[in-house]
């Protein structure tokens, strides 16, 4: 019942009204009861007093005139009144006139006693006292009647409240109907509108509810349509993404991810990775559009060569790399035949762009087997590139993995050395060949390993160049060399590769450090000629910028690379460091001697100083002197040292 009341608004209102009404009525009853009890009592007392007041002058006069008969007559007459139970008059002379009915007045509640003094007529003198015993019967009757009336009234009111409550419940009943109508409402299901014709508040709610229901249904329909469209779009996009994930967008062939999945699912098979040689040059020379066109044509050619062979799956790994996955076991001889056929077929392809013929050359890495196929084929490809062979089939005997492990180990050692500040410059003096005086020092990188072994850069620099660590190493050398020579008056050389010169970050860092330690006018920047100075404009600009701030420029390993004398002329250099391979055989190799003589002659005509490195014995040193090479350096003169103070 309580839960029913708690959940019903109408019952709450009804019970609230009834509870408040009963409380109000009860309080009202108590208050009225008290007021009326007093009022009725007072009325009866007043009545008794009025009687006394009425008879008092007569009794007073009779007493005054001594007319006892009259007094008796009055008292008799009074006692005849049903409400007067007794009367007693006491005079000052103790004369008592007393008369009473034969009632048994046991309880004080049954009567009131009223007294009054009797004054002598026309005087203020009290001559007697009258005591009237007045029945409370009438009072009780009045109270009873009053209570009866009030209770009847209350019963009528309660009945009215019940009727009112029922009426309220009836009025609010549509709200419950609305609630049950809304129960389990589903905007997807169309329903007939809620019918309520009354034009009152509930009618308005019902009207608005129907209107809201229509709007919700419209909105739901729209949402469903949107959801359906979204689902379609998501499906479409998912398919697209799936295609993108497993397909190369340029050629439409399966991509590397697809290959990885396929390899995992296979038990037997083989893999060929073919790479277009110098594809970068095609891209750079003809542009990317032509490059992409070449890739598409090659993919079609490969498809044609494979001729829908179901056991070979063609994959476009990335830009210039394609893969052929053999999904079934193939004989080793057939596998090699297939590789050779591929190379031949592709090399016979002639592609045209405008009037230019484009001929492709490829290198192949292959693996006969499916275990770690991708990695092994990749290793084989790199090896083929390295040793300039058309193809290499992976073989455990090649010990290729060992090389990789070594590289990884070296990278770890370099990282540790950088972390523990164990990359440090060593300084090898460069002497004046004529006077044997030290003119400058070349700063050479050294790595101090955990066993305090001093390691030369030729062991790790190539590996470092392939990683991001190379930039850090260069920066360390620049900073530490500049810092070291800020306190010495000697010139010093810092080696820079072409990559360093083309790296804005390194160039900016170099300038900052030289300014910081104020050594720019004593720095000689040695640029490695063996690497091939291709972008002369940029190199030339770099040299001009550096010379402006006081630096000098040397070409290192001159005679080993591709640079011709014309370009050297344009670069406005200060020193030529003759390639060590020429110097170290100077005493035995006549051709080397002729070449060195030519270089020295060329340099002297241009007023460029020459430096001979790799001077490792006296014989060489003598030859250097004979050839008038201006400066010399090498183990015969001095090994690289950690601190130049040793030589001072």
């Amino acid at each position: 019942m309580l839960r029913k009341i708690k959940n019903s608004l109408s019952l709450k209102i009804i019970f609230s009204i009834i509870a408040v009404s009963l409380l109000v009525m009860f309080i009202l009853f108590l208050v009225l009861e008290k007021i009326n009890e007093d009022a009725f009592y007072k009325v009866e007392i007043d009545k008794a007093n009025i009687i006394l007041k009425t008879v008092e002058p007569l009794i007073a006069l009779d007493l005054y005139l001594g007319m006892k008969e009259n007094i008796n007559s009055i008292t008799k007459e009074l006692v005849n009144n049903p409400n007067i139970l007794s009367i007693k008059i006491t005079t000052e002379n103790s004369s008592i006139y007393s008369l009473s009915k034969n009632n048994n007045l046991k309880k004080t509640k049954d009567y009131f006693v009223v007294t009054k003094d009797i004054y002598q007529p026309n005087s203020k003198k009290i001559i007697a006292n009258i005591l009237l015993t007045y029945s409370s019967e009438n009072y009780k009757k009045l109270r009873y009647e009053y209570r009866k009336t009030i209770i009847s009234l209350f019963i009528v009111l309660i009945l009215l409240f019940i009727l009112l409550s029922l009426y309220i419940k009836r009025l609010l009943a549509p709200l419950r109907k609305i609630a049950s109508y809304l129960n389990n409402y589903n905007p997807d299901i169309k329903r007939s509108p809620f019918l309520y014709d009354e034009n009152n508040e509930i009618g308005l709610i019902a009207k608005e509810l129907n209107s809201m229901q229509n709007k919700i249904q419209d909105y739901s329909e729209k949402q469903q349509n949107i959801n359906k469209n979204l689902e379609k779009m998501v499906e479409k996009k998912t398919a697209e993404l799936k295609t993108q994930l497993y397909t190369n967008t340029l050629t439409g062939l399966p991509n590397r991810t697809s290959l990885v999945n396929d390899i995992i699912s296979l038990e037997n098979g083989a893999l060929i990775i073919l790479n277009i040689d110098d594809f970068k040059e095609i891209n750079d020379f003809y542009g990317h559009i032509v490059g992409d066109s070449v890739l598409i044509q090659l993919s079609k050619k490969l498809e044609y060569i494979l001729n829908n062979r179901s056991n070979i799956k063609l994959i476009h790994l990335h830009a210039d790399e394609f893969g052929l996955l053999f999904t079934k076991e193939i004989a080793y001889s057939s596998f090699i035949k297939m590789i050779k056929k591929l190379i031949k077929e592709i090399e016979n392809i002639i592609l045209y762009h405008e009037d230019n013929k484009i001929v492709l050359q490829i290198t192949i890495g292959a693996v006969h087997g499916i275990d770690n196929a991708l990695e092994r084929a990749d290793i084989a490809l790199k090896l083929a590139k390295k040793i300039s062979k058309e193809f290499v089939v992976y073989d455990k005997k090649l010990n290729i993995e060992h090389l990789y492990e070594e590289n990884i180990k070296w990278l770890k050692r370099i990282r540790n050395a950088i972390k523990h500040d164990n990359i440090t410059p060593f300084f090898q003096p460069i002497y004046d060949t004529k006077t044997s005086k030290i003119l400058s020092y070349e700063c050479l990188m050294r790595l101090i390993d955990e066993n305090n072994n001093i390691i030369s850069p030729y062991k790790f620099l190539t590996i470092a160049k392939k990683s991001r660590l190379y930039t850090q190493l260069t920066k360390i050398m620049i900073q530490k060399s500049c810092e070291y020579f800020q306190n010495f008056k000697y010139n010093f050389s810092i080696n820079l590769s072409i990559e360093d010169i083309l790296d804005i970050e390194i160039v900016t860092f170099l300038k900052t450090q030289m300014q910081r330690y104020k050594v720019a006018d004593r720095v000689v920047l040695e640029i490695l000629e063996t690497e091939g100075i291709e972008n002369y404009e940029k190199i030339s600009k770099f040299i001009a910028d550096m010379k402006k701030i006081g630096c000098k420029i040397a070409i290192d390993d001159f005679g080993s690379g591709y640079a011709n004398f014309e370009y050297i002329l344009k670069l406005n250099i200060d020193y030529i460091k003759i390639d060590g391979t020429l110097i170290k055989n100077l005493d035995t190799d006549k051709n080397a001697k002729i070449l060195v003589e030519t270089i020295v002659d060329f340099a002297q005509r241009l007023n460029i100083q020459t430096i001979a490195e790799y001077v490792h014995n006296e014989a060489i040193y003598k030859e250097v002197k004979k050839l008038n090479i201006d400066r010399s350096q090498g183990f015969y003169l001095s090994e690289p040292i950690a601190d130049i103070k040793e030589l001072l």
Binding site: L58, A60, L61, Y64, L65, G66, N70, P121, N122, K125
Partner: protein, 179 residues
């Protein structure tokens, strides 16, 4: 001898005097003075702050008048009726004139003409009048009482209407009015 002479005189007087009911007389002696002070305008009727209670008689009723005086004084002691001082005068009707000063005339049996004379003087001088005989009220006196089944007061309504007679209302409720 004196006693014999007095007895003789009284006997002769009694023979020649009018007849008076002793009980009625006794009642009037005790009530009329009390009625006097029930007049709320009594103060205006006082003579030198005294109630001059004048008993008017014919010469044959002198002894009755004397007795009334004596009885009254024995009831209302110390010359006081309640708080009012009083004095009783005996007046032969032949001596009555307009100059007679009195608060109350207690009229014994008189001839009809004498009663009228008393009435005219009383009205003129604002004097309360009590009569032994109720029939005198028809001749202009104010108040009387008779013993019937009980004591009954009679009041001459016509005289009451004259000014300066203002009895307490309970008295007026008790009386029988005579027009």
């Amino acid at each position: 001898m004196k006693k014999i002479i007095l007895f003789f005189i009284l006997s002769v007087s009694t023979v020649f005097a009018s007849s008076y009911d002793e009980l009625l007389l006794k009642t009037q002696i005790s009530i009329f003075p009390k009625i006097t002070i029930l007049d709320k305008s009594l103060n205006k009727k006082l003579i030198n702050n005294e109630i001059i209670y004048t008993i008017i008689y014919e010469k044959n009723d002198f002894l009755i008048a004397e007795k009334i005086k004596a009885d009254t004084e024995s009831i209302f002691l110390n010359s006081h009726i309640d708080t009012y001082k009083y004095k009783i005068n005996l007046l032969n009707i032949s001596s009555l004139s307009n100059q007679t000063k009195a608060t109350v005339f207690y009229v014994l049996n008189l001839s009809k003409s004498d009663v009228k004379k008393v009435s005219q003087i009383a009205i003129k001088n604002n004097i309360l009048t009590f009569s032994y005989d109720i029939n005198n009220l028809y001749n202009g006196l104010l108040f009387s009482l008779n013993i019937e089944k009980s004591t009954v007061f009679y009041l001459n309504k016509k005289i009451l209407s004259y000014k300066n007679i203002n009895f307490v209302s309970p008295l007026l409720r008790m009386v029988k009015f005579i027009n």
